[in-house]
C-alpha cells in the first residue's frame, strides 16, 4: 500500500470540506503516515475466502408499518440552524459566481 503524503492530505481535506493551513497539512501528513503504516498489516490478514462483516449482529429485512409517525415542525427542525428564512435553511451561494 502506498504511503500517505502531504498532497494526499490536501486532496482529502478538500474532499472532506475541511480548510487546512500549510502548517496543519505538514503536521497531519506526518501523523497520518505513522497511523497508515501501523494499519498496513490488515490488508495481509485475510484471504479472498473470508467474507466481510459490516454489521456485528446479523439482521435482515428490518421493516416497520408504513404509517406516519412523529415528525418535527419546520420551526423545530430549524431551531438549531445558524440561519433560516421563511421556514427554510438559509445558505450562502450554492454555485460559484464564475
Amino acid at each position: 500500500m502506498a504511503a500517505i503524503n502531504r498532497d494526499d492530505v490536501a486532496h482529502l481535506a478538500r474532499l472532506a470540506h475541511i480548510e487546512m493551513s500549510a502548517e496543519e497539512l505538514d503536521r497531519m501528513a506526518g501523523e497520518l503516515a505513522v497511523i497508515v503504516d501501523s494499519v498496513k498489516s490488515v490488508s495481509e490478514a485475510a484471504g479472498d475466502d473470508v467474507p466481510a462483516t459490516s454489521h456485528p449482529i446479523p439482521l435482515s429485512n428490518v421493516f416497520r408499518e408504513d404509517v406516519v409517525g412523529h415528525t418535527f415542525t419546520a420551526e423545530q427542525a430549524l431551531s438549531g440552524a445558524p440561519d433560516s428564512f421563511e421556514g427554510r435553511f438559509k445558505v450562502p451561494a450554492i454555485l460559484d459566481e464564475d
Partner: protein, 518 residues
C-alpha cells in the same frame, strides 16, 4: 434508623439509595440536592460536568417524593430506581439541556428531541443531574480532546480519567452521581471505568437503543451503564434496554434477567477463559498482578480457569482504525454549518456554501476529529477501498471466529481492561498512536458486537492507581457478565475490607490540600 449525613448519602450505591427511597428514609430531593452540592463542591477540581441540570432534576425529585408521600397505586407503580439521580454523557441528546458532544461545532445547540434512553430515564422518573464531559464526538481515550477542557481523574488530579467517557466515570468515582450513561465504540465506557475504579458495561450491540446518541461509528457504537457496583449497572441496563423501532439495529431479545444474574452469587462450575493475547507483554506489571489475583479468587470460588487463544486480535487495532474513521467521515459530514450549531464565514474570497462549510469545519472540529475524518476519507477512496476498508471488514469476521472458538471453550473470557493505569495529562496528547494503544483490549468486543464489563480489580503496586478487570461474553449473554462480575466484586471487596473507592483521596472543601492526591 440512623440519619445519614450528605457525605454518607452520596456514597451509597444506587441500589441502596433505591431501598432507602422506597422505605421513605430519605427523599429524592434530599438525595438530588446532596449530589448537586457535591458537584458544586468538587467539580471545579474534576471538571466532569459540562452542564448541570439542577432545576429540572429537583423538580423530578420533588414529583417522585410527592407520589411516594401520597401512596396508592401510583406510588406502587414507581420504578425501583425512581428518584435515584443520574448523569448523562454529553453525546446523548436531551430536550431542555444543551448537547455539545464535547465539540465547538455544537456549542449552544439544543436538541429538539430526546434520545430513547433519555425517554426511558424520564419514564422511570430518574432525576438527570447534567451532561458529562467527553473527548470531542467520543474520539479519544483521555477526555483531553474535549473542546471544553479535560476532566481530571479523582484518584490523581494530574492524571487522565480515561476516555472518551471520562466525565461520566469521574463523576461516578468522585461521588458526583451514583449512576451515569456512557457510550462505547472501542472502549469508551470500559477504559474510563478501569482507570477510575468504577464499573462500566458495554452491552451487546443492539441491546440498548442508539437513537439519540450522536453517531461516531454506527456499527460499533453502544450506549451503556456506568456505576460504582456491578448490581447498579445491571439495574440501569434494565431501565435503558429493550427494543426500539427508532433504531433499526435494535435487538428484539429480552434482556430482563440481568439484575437476577447479578444476584446469583456463585460461579461454581463456570469456565473462565484467559485470552493469551490480551495480557503479558505490553501490560504494566501492577495491572498484570491484579489480573492474576482476580484469577486466583475466581478459581477459589469454584470457577475453572482455561487459556484460550485469539490469534487474529493482533489485527484488531489496525482494522478498528480503518473501520471507525471510515464511518466517522460519513457520520460527521452532517456538520456542515447549515443545519446545526456553528457557522464560520471564510475571511476573504467568494462566499460559497462549500467555502463556508470548509471554514466552519476547520474552526469547529478539533485535531483528533480532523485526523479521523481525513483517515476515513482516505480508507474509503477509490483505489484504496479494497485494501483498507474491505480488508478491515474481513478482519472483523476473523475476530468473530476467534471469539466463537474461544466461547466454545469458556463461558466468559477475562483480561485486563487497559494495559496501564491512568497516565498523566498531556503525556500521550502529541502521539496519537500511543493513545490508540490504550484500547487494545477493549476494541475486539466492539468489532464482534459482544458485551464487555469492566470492574475495579484493585490498585497497582507501583503507582497506587486503579486497575480494571474486563469480562467478555457471547452476544446476547450480558447476564453472564453481571453474574461473574458481581461474584468477583464481592470477593475483592471482602479482601479490601470495603469498596475500592473508599481508598480514593478526599476531594473538595473537606480536603486539606488543594488539588490533593496521594
Amino acid at each position: 434508623m440512623t440519619e445519614l449525613n450528605n457525605s454518607e448519602l452520596i456514597r451509597l450505591s444506587a441500589a441502596q439509595l433505591a431501598a432507602k427511597l422506597a422505605a421513605r428514609e430519605v427523599t429524592s430531593v434530599e438525595v438530588t440536592q446532596a449530589y448537586l452540592d457535591r458537584i458544586a463542591d468538587v467539580d471545579g477540581q474534576v471538571n466532569a460536568f459540562l452542564h448541570v441540570n439542577a432545576e429540572e432534576a429537583l423538580a423530578v425529585a420533588a414529583e417522585v417524593d410527592a407520589i411516594r408521600a401520597a401512596g396508592g397505586a401510583e406510588a406502587e407503580a414507581l420504578h425501583e430506581l425512581a428518584g435515584v439521580p443520574i448523569a448523562v454523557k454529553d453525546l446523548i441528546v436531551t430536550i431542555g439541556q444543551p448537547t455539545t458532544a464535547g465539540s465547538k461545532i455544537l456549542e449552544g445547540w439544543h436538541s429538539p428531541y430526546d434520545a430513547t434512553v433519555i425517554k426511558k430515564l424520564r419514564a422511570a422518573k430518574m432525576p438527570i443531574l447534567g451532561k458529562t464531559n467527553l473527548d470531542e464526538f467520543a474520539m479519544g481515550s483521555s477526555t483531553e480532546h474535549s473542546a471544553y477542557g479535560p476532566t481530571r481523574n479523582p484518584w490523581d488530579l494530574d492524571r487522565i480519567p480515561g476516555g472518551s467517557g471520562g466525565g461520566s466515570a469521574a463523576a461516578v468515582a468522585a461521588f458526583e452521581a451514583p449512576l451515569a450513561l456512557g457510550t462505547d465504540t472501542g472502549g469508551s465506557i470500559r477504559q474510563p471505568g478501569a482507570v477510575t475504579g468504577t464499573v462500566g458495561m458495554k452491552p451487546t450491540y443492539g441491546a440498548v437503543s442508539r437513537y439519540g446518541a450522536i453517531a461516531m461509528a454506527s456499527s460499533l457504537d453502544q450506549i451503556g451503564p456506568v456505576s460504582r457496583t456491578v448490581l447498579d449497572s445491571a439495574l440501569l441496563q434494565e431501565v435503558i434496554g429493550g427494543h426500539d423501532p427508532f433504531d433499526s439495529t435494535s435487538l428484539t431479545d429480552p434482556f430482563d434477567t440481568l439484575v437476577a444474574a447479578a444476584k446469583t452469587g456463585n460461579v461454581t462450575g463456570m469456565k473462565i477463559g484467559i485470552i493469551k493475547e490480551l495480557h503479558g507483554e505490553g501490560y504494566q506489571a501492577g495491572v498484570e498482578n491484579r489480573f492474576n489475583e482476580s484469577l486466583e479468587l475466581l478459581k477459589e470460588a469454584g470457577a475453572e480457569i482455561v487459556e484460550v487463544s485469539c490469534p487474529n486480535f493482533k489485527y484488531a487495532l489496525g482494522a478498528y482504525y480503518l473501520i471507525m474513521p471510515s464511518e466517522v467521515s460519513s457520520n460527521l459530514a452532517k456538520f456542515d454549518g447549515v443545519r446545526y450549531g456553528l457557522r464560520v464565514l471564510p475571511e476573504d474570497g467568494p462566499m460559497t456554501i462549500e467555502r463556508v462549510m470548509a471554514a466552519t469545519r476547520a474552526a469547529g472540529f478539533g485535531d483528533e476529529v480532523k485526523r479521523r475524518i481525513i483517515l476515513g476519507t482516505y480508507a474509503l477512496s477509490a483505489g484504496y477501498y479494497d485494501a483498507y476498508y474491505g480488508s478491515a471488514q474481513k478482519v472483523r469476521t476473523l475476530i468473530q471466529r476467534d471469539f466463537d472458538a474461544a466461547f466454545a471453550q469458556a463461558d466468559v473470557l477475562i483480561s485486563p481492561t487497559a494495559p496501564t493505569t491512568a497516565f498523566k495529562l498531556g503525556e500521550k496528547l502529541d502521539d496519537p498512536l500511543a493513545m490508540y494503544l490504550n484500547d487494545v483490549a477493549t476494541i475486539p468486543a466492539n468489532m464482534a458486537g459482544i458485551p464487555g464489563l469492566s470492574l475495579p480489580g484493585g490498585l497497582a503496586d507501583e503507582d497506587g492507581l486503579p486497575v480494571g478487570i474486563q469480562l467478555l461474553a457471547p452476544a446476547r449473554e450480558d447476564a453472564r457478565l453481571y453474574r461473574v462480575g458481581a461474584v468477583l466484586e464481592s470477593l475483592l471487596e471482602e479482601k479490601w475490607g470495603g469498596p475500592l473507592l473508599a481508598k480514593a483521596p478526599v476531594l473538595g472543601s473537606s480536603s486539606t490540600i488543594a488539588g490533593g492526591s496521594n
